[in-house]
Symmetry: C2
């Protein structure tokens, strides 16, 4: 059994998303891992930082690069609770990250409507891990907001 | 005669690009203005910050948002010496910026191969202002690198 596998890291990403929700941010969380090592865990902070670029993925890329002392994230995997947007897909491409795993698709703002080729040709892509948990978190957040 | 017009602000963006070149960065500069007021002037700092997300445009969006205390950049124009990449176009979309002006097209990594619709529907787009100066700066930088 793999302890530090995809489910483990995606669960951390969902914990980050939960922290975002508690802070009044749209609940999206991202972590970057290399092998069994956690390099970055971040959540969407656009409200706190007053900055549209402060998506979980962008913050995680910056943090992982600082940790590694490298702007390239070869041998790293990004786990994110929602399908990345165009901005984040572009950032992931520049980082040449090895693997991207997302939980829930985002039909409205996700990058996949332009296809996987928005990512780097060497980046592997997986989706659907813990999809329901992430979708539920987003749904509850927006339902509470509309009250 | 308009003193603080498009040429004035694009000249500042080119000065930023020049600063980037002197620091060993790919020479791209961006400024954000609102009316005659300069809100941000930044240059590509991916090497200095060891961070693929540190493009001139991303830094300028963050800086202008801090200045305004708002994550939306309505009534603002971004001037950038090179056509923005996909990541930066995505960030500009989230910012709902009023206008984007770029100098030189980037056939390799520019967002326009996906079309203007990558930007916000309300964002005006202009290109070609001081195109030659910006292209020359990039050409000299890469020619010197290959020596």
């Amino acid at each position: 059994m793999q302890i530090y596998g995809d489910e483990y890291f995606m669960r951390l990403a969902l914990q980050e998303a939960q922290k975002a929700a508690e802070a009044g941010e749209v609940p999206i969380g991202a972590v970057i891992a290399s092998g069994e090592k956690l390099l970055a865990r971040c959540h969407n902070s656009t409200e706190l930082l007053n900055d549209v670029t402060a998506h979980a993925e962008i913050l995680a890329i910056t943090a992982a690069s600082q940790y590694l002392g490298s702007k390239y994230l070869m041998d790293c995997t990004l786990y994110v609770s929602l399908e990345p947007c165009i901005m984040c897909a572009g950032a992931l491409r520049w980082s040449q990250i090895s693997r991207v795993v997302f939980a829930t698709p985002d039909d409205k703002a996700g990058f996949m409507r332009y296809g996987k080729e928005l990512l780097h040709p060497r980046t592997q892509l997986e989706m659907g891990i813990m999809m329901e948990e992430s979708a539920l978190l987003l749904k509850s957040f927006f339902a509470a907001r509309r009250k």
